[in-house]
């Protein structure tokens, strides 16, 4: 564990709360986005297939934001974290009509 690991909050969206004991936010420690997400799925293993594909890559329909910025436009999973940072998992949702 690096000494620079920051405590960050990960926001869990409604469709995935069934895998985090209905917790809306989870606090983890990590130096990068990838590390924080790894901690999250370590704590809640049932979440893993919803975030990662079989090759262990983040699924393309699950967007991860650091603050209000998509990590695809930062350094993706290598994006460094800072104390108090807020990560959001924003999955695609289709509901509307019926």
């Amino acid at each position: 564990m690096s000494t620079t690991a920051a405590t960050v909050t990960i926001r869990i969206p409604t469709p995935l709360r069934g895998f985090t004991n209905e917790q809306a936010t989870v606090e983890v420690q990590g130096t990068t986005v990838g590390e924080a997400l790894a901690k999250l799925v370590e704590q809640f293993p049932r979440l893993k297939p919803h975030l990662y594909n079989e090759e262990g890559r983040l699924r393309s329909f699950v967007n991860i934001y650091l603050g209000d910025e998509d990590i695809r436009y930062l350094q993706r999973e290598a994006t460094p974290l800072y104390p108090g940072a807020e990560l959001s998992i924003v999955p695609s949702v289709a509901g509307g009509t019926h």
Binding site: S92, V93, G95, G96
Partner: protein, 396 residues
């Protein structure tokens, strides 16, 4: 705009009706004429379509197009305030038209009683200034996005699930599109629908009203629309947040080197079996691709005393609403972790059921994938049992 503002006249009755707009400097007479000259296509006349249609009609949008092929049923009334109890059994378009014209007879209502498909989407969309997407499935979401980008029409997008909603404005010339936000759809079955996951009845009212606000702002050209921003609404914590959505230069439909130049097969794109080639019905995860048993067959088996092992994969609170009995209850999402409980029955015939047959199809698929040999999905679930076998079982 299809009509120039000089051609637009407001009658004395309309001037009275729109008084509270006319005295707003940001709207005024010119803005009200813009609204009257405008046309908006609403894809879906359900949960999000309800506040959209009600408020856009009341605001004086001159022409509203509605695309829907559904009939009003009782379970719609908890949130689809466009329709009333007296409308149960009527086509949604008919009750929507009646309600809109009751609110504002100055609105022209165009009805399209059809699914939006790759064949008809561009034809329909080109008749409107902008589109408000309130559909309930991924194939239609991508279809609406692509058709709007190809036709050059702004797409005011919203979607909802349980207590949360998303709103954004896609398809403007310099802004991002839905594919910039989500390049690919999730595989079928991984993301539950509102029919499976439920939705707070007020949520489409809250989110659809925000969507309607964005439509009005786009027509009037005022304020700061949600272009390049995704609004997240969480009704439980009552928190509103906006995230940045960037235009993806690599986007296959709105990027610099686009690879999509015409509408595609959206069923196939979303991993679903194509229906009539390119149409886009509601997404049903993998149903009918797994072995099934009908409610009649199961009833006959039970009467003969030839009872299979029955697995209910709904949530415990649903069992309190309605049940046809089970040997074991394991919610579908817990199944991968709780397989050990089923191990003793590995060689038995197992019938899996849920409310409608969708979750149990997923569970059936999963169990077969891990080596359970004789697993069948109860086709149509508890709803079919209520309809065909025992009407005293409540439908929910």
């Amino acid at each position: 705009m299809a009509t120039t503002l000089i051609d637009v006249q407001l009658s004395p009755e309309e001037l009275r009706r729109y008084n509270r707009h006319l005295i707003l400097p940001e709207v005024g007479l010119e803005g009200q004429k813009k609204l009257k000259a405008a046309s908006v296509l609403l894809v879906g006349a359900g949960g999000l379509g309800s506040p959209l249609a009600l408020y856009l009609a009341a605001a004086g949008v001159g022409r509203l197009g509605l695309v829907d092929f559904d009939v009003v049923d009782e379970t719609n009334l908890q949130r689809q305030v466009l329709h009333g109890t007296k409308d149960v059994g009527r086509p949604k378009l008919e009750s929507a038209r009646d309600r809109i014209l009751d609110i504002n007879p100055h609105v022209q209502v165009d009805l399209y009683e059809t699914r939006l498909t790759s064949e008809n989407a561009l034809e329909i969309i080109k008749e409107y200034d902008l589109v408000a997407d309130g559909t309930d499935n991924f194939p239609t979401r991508y279809l609406v996005n692509d058709a709007c980008v190809l036709a050059g029409k702004p797409n005011v997008y919203a979607s909802i699930f349980r207590f949360e909603g998303q709103v954004s404005v896609f398809g403007t010339p310099d802004g991002p599109c839905y594919r910039c936000l989500y390049p690919e759809p999730p595989p079928p079955g991984l993301v539950p629908s509102c029919a499976e996951g439920g939705v707070l009845g007020i949520l489409p009212g809250l989110v659809g009203t925000i969507q309607a606000t964005e439509v009005i702002k786009m027509i009037l050209g005022i304020g700061k629309p949600l272009i390049g921003r995704l609004l997240l609404v969480d009704a439980l914590s009552m928190q509103f947040r906006t995230l940045k959505v960037r235009k993806n230069p690599e986007c296959p439909i709105c990027g610099e080197h686009r690879t999509i130049h015409a509408l595609i097969d959206y069923e196939q794109f979303c991993g679903l079996p194509a229906r009539n080639g390119t149409s886009a019905p509601a997404a049903q995860p993998a149903e009918s691709q797994v072995p099934e048993i009908t409610v009649q067959e199961l009833k006959a088996r039970l009467e003969r005393g030839d009872r299979p092992f029955i697995l209910d994969v709904r949530k415990p609170h649903e069992v309190q609403i309605a049940s046809i009995g089970h040997d074991l209850l394991i919610p579908v999402d817990d199944l991968p972790e709780r397989l050990a409980e089923l191990e003793p029955y590995r060689d038995r015939e197992i019938v899996v059921y849920c409310r409608s047959g969708a979750r149990s199809a997923r569970a059936t698929q999963l169990l077969r994938a891990v080596g359970f040999r004789d697993v069948k999905n109860l086709k149509g679930g508890i709803l079919a049992w209520s309809q065909e076998i025992d009407p005293s079982i409540p439908q929910y």
